[in-house]
């Protein structure tokens, strides 16, 4: 570390102080610690490969110190970088301790220098990229584009399975119909209720609920079951609404209903 003293002195030089102060004016102008470091490194006016990382660390720490002094809020990552650079500085200044683990100060410094050089390189090529001839600015595309007419030929296809299933679908339409017929054999409570509301007006006397079976529903067992259940449910609804009364003499004896007598 032969440069140490030299750069220690540099850090205190007036021009760098001035530069550091100038930087403080606009912390937001930097995109982060690395950006700031890159800017600071320019004050060394040397090839980035030959940069003194120690001097740079000093500059950075001085910058942060100054910012604190001026009560400028520094984002956490600036402070993290400051802490890291302080650590790096101590490693660079102290003679290497063979018992200590971890990378040497030189290794860390070399990596930081690499990062700075790489960032600078990317900035340089960004500029070169943007300076290239650009489409729509320097060179141009065809103004009168001819629409490529897409002629779509549609080829229809079907498999034997499609064919057979299609045929099966038609031929078994009657087999599907039971779903419709099932419904025909079902009397919903709403239907029963609708029907009974009309009929109940005439039921002044107790009548067997079975006598409310609609015509044609009594012979088919499926229909009879459905109609009976619907009628019974409808009766309960009507009783709940206070329209009728229900009675059953004993278990399994006929259920009778009648219109609720007017009080």
């Amino acid at each position: 570390m032969s440069d140490d003293d030299e750069f220690q002195a540099d850090v205190l030089s007036v021009s760098e102080r001035m530069a550091a102060e100038a930087l403080i004016v606009d912390v937001d102008g930097f995109e982060g610690p690395l950006d700031l470091l890159l800017t600071l490194s320019r004050t060394q006016k040397v090839d980035l490969r030959k940069i003194s990382v120690l001097a740079l660390a000093e500059q950075y720490l001085a910058f942060v110190e100054k910012a604190r002094h001026l009560r400028i809020e520094l984002a956490a990552d600036y402070l993290v970088m400051a802490a890291w650079l302080a650590f790096l500085k101590s490693r660079l200044l102290l003679p290497p301790d063979p018992t200590e683990e971890g990378p040497s100060g030189e290794e860390l410094a070399a990596h930081l220098a690499f990062q700075l050089e790489r960032l600078q390189a990317m900035r340089d090529v960004s500029a070169r990229l943007m300076a290239r001839d650009q489409k729509g600015r320097d060179f141009f595309v065809r103004g009168q584009v001819e629409v490529v007419e897409r002629r779509k030929t549609i080829s229809y296809t079907a498999t034997l399975l499609d064919l057979m299933q299609g045929y099966a679908r038609i031929r078994t339409r009657d087999e599907f119909r039971p779903f419709v017929m099932d419904r025909e054999s079902v009397m919903t409570m709403e239907e029963a209720l609708d029907r009974m509301r009309h009929l109940i007006g005439f039921a002044g006397e107790w009548t067997d609920i079975m006598s409310y079976m609609p015509e044609g529903w009594g012979n088919d067992p499926v229909r009879r079951r459905s109609a009976t259940a619907a009628n019974f449910a409808a009766s309960l609804e009507l009783a709940k609404a206070g329209a009728i009364e229900i009675r059953q003499g004993e278990t399994f004896s006929p259920i009778q209903i009648r219109r609720k007598p007017n009080d």
Binding site: E149, D162, I170
Partner: protein, 216 residues
């Protein structure tokens, strides 16, 4: 306005105009990049003073003679256009494979199973009318064709499937099509036998009476 313009032009043309080859390049680039045909006046306005786009256009037009694109006059303006004989390149053929519609499949199936079959019979079996488009499509695909006329009142045409149909579906003949029982065994039908159709056998093609079974 014009006088003024002329005056400016004369003044400026004291500077040397670009060589004609350069002017030709300029016209070429402008015509290429413009969305609309460009008039000579506009070319003049855009090119360096002293340029003669009209002459440059003559050269350029000649240069593109017989090429894939041409310099053409559109009204009093100029444009670069595709050579007319290459217009066909501006089409892009794409083949899209689509599944045949359900109506077409059903119609085709009925024809295959019942051929020769009349349109009225197809409609009877399907329970809905068969659109002309469906029949046309199947004919166009060369999967069905007209068969003999039916010897019945009105002598209606019948439809039969074609060799192309058999080839496509890998069938030796339409008789190889699996019957209802086999379809059922293959799980293609609901296994529940319909009450009304208890003992039904596979149909013979010309069993006209059968269609009544399928009436709604």
């Amino acid at each position: 306005m014009t006088e003024e313009h002329d005056a400016v032009e004369q003044e400026e043309s004291l500077f040397e105009a670009p060589p004609m080859g350069e002017q030709e390049r300029m016209v070429e680039a402008i015509l290429f990049a413009s969305a609309e045909p460009v008039t000579v006046a506009e070319l003049t306005a855009r090119m360096p003073h002293g340029s003669d786009p009209a002459e440059a256009l003559v050269h350029l037009r000649k240069r593109y003679e017989g090429r894939g694109v041409r310099v053409v006059r559109v009204g009093d303006a100029w444009a670069i256009r595709t050579a007319p004989d290459l217009g066909y390149l501006m089409q892009k053929e794409t083949v899209e494979t689509r599944k045949l519609s359900r109506a077409a499949i059903e119609t085709l199936a009925i024809i295959a199973y019942h051929q020769p079959v009349t349109r009225a019979e197809i409609e009877e079996i399907r329970g809905v009318s068969v659109s002309r488009g469906t029949i046309d499509q199947l004919i166009e695909m060369e999967w069905i064709r007209f068969g003999r006329r039916r010897m019945s009142p009105g002598r209606p045409v019948t439809f039969v499937v074609t060799q192309g149909f058999l080839d496509h579906f890998g069938l030796e003949s339409a008789r190889d099509l699996p019957g209802l029982k086999e379809l059922r065994a293959a799980g293609l039908l609901e296994s529940r036998p319909p009450p009304a159709m208890g003992g039904e056998e596979d149909e013979d093609e010309d069993d006209e009476g059968q269609s009544e079974l399928f009436e709604e």
